[in-house]
């Protein structure tokens, strides 16, 4: 997929480069808007850092993942918990019309 890919390191460098050329009013407003966005980003990042102090370790989420996965019956697994649903096997029944539909032109 063609697009501008900006990773977190490169993003801000790219934006600086695009802004350094202009010295007129339009450029000034653009830089101000960028600055505002960066200041907002700074606040979000500081919030996130604070939140991380109260965040539990990954093992808790791993435990929850394991428990949730094993609780749900899964028709695609060779071995799974019940209850089994007979409708899961409907794909293996012959279609009512024995030839099936082989039309191919739209």
């Amino acid at each position: 997929m063609q697009s501008d890919r900006s990773d977190s390191r490169g993003l801000n460098t790219q934006r600086t480069q695009s802004l350094t050329g202009s010295g007129d009013t339009r450029g000034k407003h653009r830089i101000q808007a960028e600055l505002k966005r960066l200041e907002q980003e700074t606040r979000f990042l500081e919030e996130e850092l604070e939140q991380l102090d109260k965040t539990e370790k990954a093992s808790a989420a791993c435990n929850e993942t394991l428990r949730n996965v094993e609780a749900i019956p899964d028709p695609l697994l060779p071995i799974t918990n019940g209850p089994l649903n007979p409708l899961w096997d409907r794909w293996f029944e012959r279609p009512k019309e024995s030839r099936g539909c082989r039309c191919w032109i739209l």
Binding site: M1, S3, D4, R5, S6, D7, S8, R9, N12, T13, R15, T16, T20, G23, K28, I31, E34, L35, L38, E41, T42, F44, L45, E46, E48, L49, L52, T55, E56, K57, A58, S59, A61, C62, T65, L66, N68, V69, E70, I72, P73, D74, P75, L76, L77, P78, L87, W88, D89, R90, P95, K96, E97, G100, C101, R102, C103, W104, I105, L106
Partner: protein, 461 residues
């Protein structure tokens, strides 16, 4: 004025430094909290990887009819129907159980990238390079040309529509992602944007957004994946900023999918990895990566979870489709370009991607699980010309691929018609019971691609 501009530039540079250093600190702090990944934890709890026997998952249907790459597919919530979107400029609605096509919708813009079934199954939506999301009501009467009319066009994006999904339990809202770096929540009844996530005046993705996935357990939450290498979690009530941004990938995030339990989501990227993220803590819980033994790392183009989340199906740009055991991060089964060749552009309702029979020979572009999780459907496109001809020799060809020169088509149309008749492809002589007039044949041929020229070479004396 110039001094205040240069002052601003200095402040700007300083702000960038601050942001980068904060990001680095965040990264370090997160790393310290990653005491174990899902695979490590599962192993410590004595779990063994899922292993598939040769008959555990099988390909049981091939849905043929598209004449171009299948870009996207979606199942209904009532189990058996699928909508698919193809480069041939059509949506097809299938009954996957009977293999019947119930609708073939010619699109106003052929460059479609995504499609979705509404929760009630009464409508389908699609979007693409026209930057518009079009809604079709499947119960509408067709127009005089036999085409289903567009019932609503959702316009407003300033870039391509890469992905769309209806908000569960209602046919009235859907969410789109776009090349204009935003996601939008639409009210279909009015055709208006309810909310725009990201974009010029709000913080959001900084590059094209390629994928969205709405939580099955809390329809106010959705995740998006972008060319800015991040995934973002959004609350539809708060458009001004993402709830959380997930870093880790080193390339475009092509696909995102909520995990069945609603507290995690998976991603697939150009960096060749799939990852599992936890939405409440923001932790990256697992990376799924396997060395493919090639020079170039294949991109992950599409993913889907089985209904429990134990299996992660991942389609790659080199044609492989891996079935990952999400708990043990091992590849349970995979299919490469092995096994018998299959006709191009089919949809396959597969259960086994590792089967040596009837698996895709080409590149898998999209995946989707049925609502009850009992079947996986894959869409693909194939390009191997040689094998195409081989198959045509051995079997009655049930459809022709696309793209050939118009002139040679016209000249050869008559010859081809007689050849096809011999192969039982016309007038219900063997293949379809549907008859095919020469006018339709020429129309079909006009849509053919370059393979047809070789097909002609094969057929002509």
């Amino acid at each position: 004025m110039s001094s205040s501009v240069s002052e601003l530039k200095e402040r700007h540079a300083a702000a960038i430094e601050t942001v980068n250093s904060l990001r680095e600190r965040l990264k370090q702090k997160r790393q310290q909290l990653l005491d174990v990944d899902v695979a490590g934890y599962s192993r410590s709890q004595g779990r063994a990887p899922v292993s598939f026997g040769p008959t555990d998952l099988v390909c049981c249907r091939t849905l043929q009819g598209h004449a171009g790459k299948v870009y996207s597919l979606d199942w209904t919530s009532e189990r058996n129907r699928i909508v698919s979107a193809s480069q041939d400029g059509r949506l097809i609605v299938w009954n996957a159980l009977t293999s019947q096509k119930t609708h073939a919708i010619k699109l106003p813009c052929a460059w479609v990238m995504t499609c979705a079934f509404s929760p009630t199954g009464q409508s389908v939506a699609c979007g693409g390079l026209d930057s518009v999301c079009s809604i079709f009501n499947l119960n509408s009467p067709t127009d005089k040309d036999g085409n289903l009319p567009v019932s609503r066009m959702l316009s407003g994006h300033k870039g391509y529509v890469s992905c769309c999904q209806y908000v569960p339990d209602e046919d009235t809202h859907l969410i789109t992602s776009s090349g204009d770096q935003t996601c939008v929540l639409w009210d279909i009844t009015t055709g208006l944007r309810t909310s725009v996530f990201g974009g010029e005046f709000q913080s959001g993705h900084t590059a094209d957004v390629l994928s969205v996935s709405i939580s099955g357990s809390n329809s106010r939450m959705f995740v998006s994946g972008s060319c800015d290498s991040t995934a973002r979690l959004w609350d539809t009530r708060v458009a001004s900023r993402a709830v959380r941004t997930f870093h880790g990938h080193e390339g475009d995030v092509n696909t995102v999918k909520f995990f069945p339990d609603g507290n995690r989501f998976g991603t697939g990227s150009d960096d060749g990895t799939c990852r599992l993220f936890d939405i409440r803590t923001g932790h990256q819980l697992q990376v799924y990566y396997q060395q493919h033994g090639e020079n170039e790392i294949p991109h992950v183009t599409s993913i889907a979870f089985s209904i429990s989340g134990r299996l992660l199906f991942a389609g790659y740009s080199n044609g492989d489709c891996y079935v990952w055991d999400t708990l043990l991060a091992k590849v349970g089964h995979h299919s490469g370009r092995i096994g018998s060749y299959h006709l191009p552009f089919p949809l396959q309702v597969v259960l086994n991607l590792g089967s040596l029979q009837n698996s895709h020979e080409g590149r898998i572009t999209c995946l989707g699980l049925s609502a009850d999780g009992s079947a996986l459907c894959t869409g693909s496109w194939d390009t191997n010309l040689k094998e195409l001809i081989t198959v045509m020799k051995l079997k009655v060809c049930q459809y022709i691929s696309v793209d050939a020169q118009f002139d040679s088509l016209q000249n050869n149309a008559g010859v081809i018609q007689s050849k096809l008749a011999r192969f039982g492809l016309l007038e219900g002589t063997g293949g379809c019971s549907e008859s095919l007039g020469s006018e339709r044949l020429v129309n079909l041929l006009l849509n053919l691609r370059f393979w047809l020229t070789s097909f002609c070479c094969f057929l002509l004396p």
